[in-house]
Amino acid sequence: MPITRGFKGRQTETVGERDRVPPGQYVTRDFPVLTAGPTQRTPLESWSLSLQRRGELISRWSWIEFEALPQTERTTDIHCVTKWTKLDTQWRGVTFDDIMKAAGLSSAPNMYVMAHCDGGYTTNLPVADLVDGKAMIATHFDNMPIPATHGGPARLLVPHLYFWKSAKWVRRLDFMDANTPGFWESMGYHIYGDPWREQRYTNDA
């Protein structure tokens, strides 16, 4: 592909940050908003989070009930497939482990989960990538409630995978037997999405 003389993309990482940045990414101080549709604005009175198994309800929490579950804080780096990386983002929410515990599950009934969101967005994940502290349903960013444009009142946070997996406006987590592709995965983004192996698209190793 032809190189454009003199063009440099955004390169703002410092020397010490280089090894925290996966291949092909650049560090941003912004928090870009990318969306497949209009911002969802669900009032807290109507919000609920459901845990399901193949569409059948296991447990459901209203906002008040959800906020009463054990809260975990986490500072982590996030990586978007569109190549921006943001370091040291600070979140608070309920870990997937604590959600399972609150639902009375000692182990997951199936190997995969589909996250369903207001507005129709979906993304698929192996349960193994949600448990052991790897993922949470986040309600706060930087000690403030997550704004609607960034997925509030609650979004999935799975920072070890590309950020399209950290689904905004999440409402249902549905256990499933097969790793059915979600919204972007069915269009050609990678079924798993590990930024360290640069798994952006379906045929990437």
């Binding site: 592909m1 003389r5 440099k8 190549k83």
Partner: protein, 240 residues
């Protein structure tokens, strides 16, 4: 691939770049091109820019680019390119937001800032016609110095009885200014938009919020949705 042939400053933050492209087949007024830039590390950025030069097959193709201070692409295009540089360019694109001289309807053009670029392509195309449909441009700019193509537009208005411009400045006007001095609003459109009975062909271009507001108000005045074509630049003024 296209080669930089010339530059022209339009305003302190806006520059026109002329490109020679060997495989250019011509374009319609209102169309755009996609530019792709590739850094040495393989990093790529793509943006769309409206073509400013009149429709037809003549070279060069002109783009008018506003330098967005924290932009990624526009500072490079306006300050980093040199004569003779080549860049990847795809187009022309978009038959939806286009105007052909054979169209008999009167023309109403509403521009917000750099949204004037594709509308200028329409006006330059119209200017080459022997029989010109009546036309009006309502053009919103920040300050007098920010008016892109000001002298050329003044010339069109001075030499063509069937064309008129209404300028409005949103951040202050020079003394002796005779145009409007606020954001385009319902009153301004009611005053200057062509009558609905004329069924004008309307083109609105500029930042998303500007286009939204103007389009809503034109509909409220009774203009037909099918007669209004819109081109929204993203919130920063860059298309996508």
């Amino acid at each position: 691939m296209a080669t930089v042939a010339a530059f022209r400053d339009e305003t302190p933050s806006v520059k026109t770049i002329a490109f020679a492209a060997s495989q250019w087949t011509g374009h319609l007024a209102g169309q755009h091109i996609d530019i792709r830039l590739t850094g040495e590390d393989g990093y790529q950025a793509e943006r769309s820019y409206s073509i400013a030069s009149p429709g037809g097959t003549a070279a060069p193709i002109e783009l008018t680019v506003e330098r967005i201070s924290d932009g990624e692409v526009s500072p490079f295009l306006t300050e980093g390119l040199a004569l003779g540089d080549t860049i990847e360019l795809r187009g022309p694109i978009g038959g939806y937001f286009t105007w052909k001289p054979e169209n008999p309807s009167p023309l109403l053009l509403v521009a917000g800032g750099s949204g004037v670029v594709p509308l200028m392509s329409i006006l330059r195309t119209r200017n080459k016609c022997a029989n010109r449909v009546p036309g009006r441009l309502l053009y919103s700019s920040r300050r007098f110095e920010d008016i892109i193509y000001r002298e050329e537009l003044d010339r069109f208005a001075a030499t063509d009885n069937s064309f008129s411009i209404v300028h409005t400045l949103t951040r202050g006007a020079p003394t002796a200014w005779r145009g409007e001095t606020r954001r385009v609003d319902a009153q301004m459109l009611a005053k200057y938009a062509l009558p609905t009975a004329q069924k004008p062909h309307i083109f609105v271009c500029g930042p998303t919020l500007f286009v939204e507001t103007v389009a809503d108000q034109l509909l409220a005045l009774g203009h037909q949705e099918a007669g209004i074509k819109t081109e929204r630049f993203g919130p920063t003024g860059e298309k996508r």
